[in-house]
C-alpha cells in the first residue's frame, strides 16, 4: 500500500494495484464556502441546510464540517447548538446546493478528460476506471489532484485499486488530500482488523446480523461459510462473501449512462413545526406537484404512493398504498397522499417534515386519455404547465393551494442528486 499524502506532485509509486479510482472531495461544502469567503479560510466552519438563527438553530443539522471544525469533534449530522457547544467560535454557513452542484459538474469535466467511465456516486464522490486508456492510474490520480487544486481551488482524496470496493477503502484511508494505492493482497491484510461495517456496501443492519453469528471483521466475512450467508441473506450472501474476499465485479458506469429510476420522491423540512392541517396539506400539494413533474420528465408513471411524516420529536412513521392506475399527475398523487395522511389524524404531535415518494414505476404510456376526454384535457394542461415551468422556472405556474406553503416558507433542497444524475446541464 502506498500513500502520497498531500503532495500530488510527488512521483507516483511503481505499484500497479488496478485501474479503478475513487475520488472523494475533502469536506466538500465547507471547503467551497471557505474558498468563496476568504475570512473563513483556516477557521472552523459548518455548513447547514437551513437558516433558523432566530429560532436558536435548534432544528438545524450540520451537513458538512470543515477539517478545522472536525478537530473539535463536530461531525456531519450533529445539531448546530451541539457544534456551538463544542466550538463557540464556529462559523455557520447556510449551504447553497446549486453552487455545490455546479462545482461538481466542473469536477466531472476534469475527470472526463481521462475517461468516459466516470460514475457519479454522490455530489462529492466519483469512481473512474482507466482500463483501456493507456494511462498509468497513479500518475493520472496525481494529475487529477493537481487539476482539482489549480482549477477549483479544492483538495480531494483518491484511492486506487483493482475494483470499486478496494479503491473506496484505499481512498478513505488518508484524508484530506490523500492518494493511496492498494492491491487486493494488501486489502486482505487490512481486512483482518477492518470492522465489517466499514466494508463498502455493508450497512448497519447487515453488520448487526453478522455480529449475531460472530462475524465482526471483513476477513471473517470472507471466511464465513457460504451456506450460512445465503441462508441468512439469500442471494446477497454470495456477494457479501465475495466482498469479504476483496472481490467486487461492479463495473464503473459511463458518465452518460442513465441510472434506472426506481422511485421518485421529494421531502421538505418545514421552517417551523406545525400541527396546522391546512399548512400540512399545502406542503403535500407542493411535494406532489414536484414528484409529478419529475415523473413526467422521466417518462414514468407510478402506482405505489408512500408518505413519510416526521414529528417534532424526531420520531416518524411511513405509510404506503397502491393505486389501480399508474399516476403522473400532481393532483392524483396529492389525493393519494391525503388518503394516507388521514390515517395519521388527529395529529397528536407537531410535524417537522414531510416526504412523498412514488414507486412501482412503469413507462408512462402517454396516458389512456384518448379513452376519456377529461383525462385528455388534464394531460394537455399538465404538458402546457410543464413547458411553461421549464422555460420560465419551476413553480412559475402552480396550484393556488401551494401559496399557503410558500407563505409558511419553502427552501429548495430536495432531489439534488437524482436531479443532477438524470438531467445534467451545462
Amino acid at each position: 500500500m502506498n500513500t502520497v499524502g498531500g503532495e500530488a506532485e510527488r512521483q507516483p509509486q511503481t505499484c500497479r494495484p488496478g485501474t479503478v479510482l475513487h475520488l472523494d472531495m475533502d469536506a466538500y461544502f465547507a471547503s467551497i464556502e471557505q474558498a468563496c469567503n476568504p475570512s473563513l479560510r483556516g477557521k472552523p466552519v459548518v455548513v447547514c441546510g437551513e437558516t433558523s438563527a432566530e429560532q436558536g438553530w435548534g432544528r438545524t443539522i450540520v451537513t458538512t464540517a470543515s477539517y478545522e471544525a472536525r478537530r473539535f469533534g463536530i461531525k456531519t449530522g450533529c445539531t448546530v447548538p451541539e457544534a456551538r457547544r463544542r466550538c463557540p467560535d464556529v462559523a455557520i454557513v447556510c449551504g447553497d446546493p446549486e453552487k455545490y452542484l455546479d462545482t461538481s459538474r466542473r469536477l466531472h469535466r476534469i475527470l472526463l478528460r481521462y475517461t468516459d467511465r466516470v460514475e457519479v456516486y454522490s455530489i462529492d464522490e466519483c469512481f473512474m476506471d482507466l482500463a483501456g486508456t493507456r494511462r498509468d492510474p497513479v500518475t493520472a490520480a496525481a494529475e487529477i489532484k493537481k487539476a482539482v487544486r489549480t482549477e477549483l481551488g479544492l483538495t480531494c482524496s483518491i484511492g486506487v485499486g483493482p475494483n470499486k470496493l478496494i479503491a473506496k477503502l484505499a481512498g478513505d484511508l488518508q484524508k484530506p488530500d490523500g492518494l493511496v494505492t492498494m492491491s487486493r493482497a494488501e486489502a486482505l491484510v487490512l481486512f483482518e482488523d477492518l470492522p465489517v461495517q466499514e466494508v463498502w456496501g455493508v450497512g448497519e443492519r447487515t453488520a448487526e446480523r453478522l455480529a449475531r453469528v460472530g462475524i465482526f471483521t471483513a476477513a471473517e466475512l470472507g471466511r464465513a461459510p457460504l451456506s450460512m450467508l445465503t441462508t441468512m441473506f439469500g442471494v446477497w450472501g454470495y456477494r457479501l462473501q465475495a466482498m469479504g474476499c476483496g472481490h467486487c465485479d461492479d463495473p464503473v458506469a459511463r458518465h452518460d449512462e442513465k441510472r434506472v429510476v426506481k422511485s421518485v420522491g421529494h421531502s421538505h423540512t418545514l421552517p417551523k413545526d406545525t400541527a396546522n392541517v391546512t399548512i400540512i396539506q399545502a406542503y403535500l400539494r407542493l411535494l406532489a406537484e414536484r414528484v409529478g413533474e419529475r415523473l413526467r420528465r422521466y417518462g414514468k408513471a407510478g402506482s405505489t404512493v408512500s408518505l413519510y411524516v416526521r414529528y417534532a420529536d424526531f420520531t416518524g412513521a411511513g405509510r404506503q398504498h397502491r393505486v389501480g392506475e399508474p399516476m403522473t399527475s400532481g393532483l392524483h398523487i396529492y389525493r393519494s397522499a391525503m388518503c394516507l395522511l388521514r390515517q395519521y389524524m388527529p395529529l397528536r404531535k407537531k410535524v417537522r417534515s414531510l416526504g412523498i415518494s412514488i414507486s412501482a414505476l412503469t413507462p408512462a404510456s402517454g396516458g389512456q386519455g384518448f379513452l376519456l376526454e377529461r383525462c385528455g384535457r388534464e394531460e394537455r394542461l399538465m404538458d402546457v404547465v410543464d413547458r411553461i415551468n421549464r422555460r420560465y422556472g419551476a413553480s412559475t405556474l402552480k396550484p393556488g393551494s401551494v401559496l399557503t406553503a410558500e407563505r409558511f416558507g419553502v427552501k429548495e433542497r430536495c432531489g439534488l442528486i437524482g436531479t443532477y444524475l438524470l438531467d445534467p446541464k451545462g
Partner: protein, 81 residues
C-alpha cells in the same frame, strides 16, 4: 452576518470571449472595487443560465448575478467580513 439584498445594481465588467468578470459595482451610492472574484457558478432559471459571482471588496463578501438574456446584474446578498 448575511443580509439578503436582491436588487438591481450597476456593474462594470470585462467580457473576454465567453468569460465575464465583474470589476466594480455601485451599492449604497458607493462604487465598490472588486478585489477578487472568489467563486463562479451557474444556475438555471427556466431556460436562462444565470451566472453567479462571489466577490470581495477586501472587507465584505458579495454575491452578484448576471442574466445574459436581460443583461441585468443583481446584488443578491452581502456577508460582513
Amino acid at each position: 452576518m448575511t443580509t439578503e439584498i436582491s436588487r438591481r445594481v450597476k456593474v462594470g465588467a470585462v467580457f473576454e470571449g465567453t468569460i465575464v468578470t465583474p470589476k466594480w459595482f455601485v451599492w449604497e451610492n458607493r462604487r465598490r472595487m472588486i478585489a477578487q472574484v472568489t467563486w463562479r457558478w451557474h444556475t438555471m432559471d427556466g431556460e436562462t443560465r444565470i451566472a453567479h459571482f462571489s466577490v470581495t471588496d477586501g472587507g465584505n463578501l458579495f454575491e452578484l448575478t448576471f442574466n445574459p438574456v436581460t443583461l441585468e446584474w443583481r446584488l443578491v446578498r452581502v456577508t460582513g467580513g
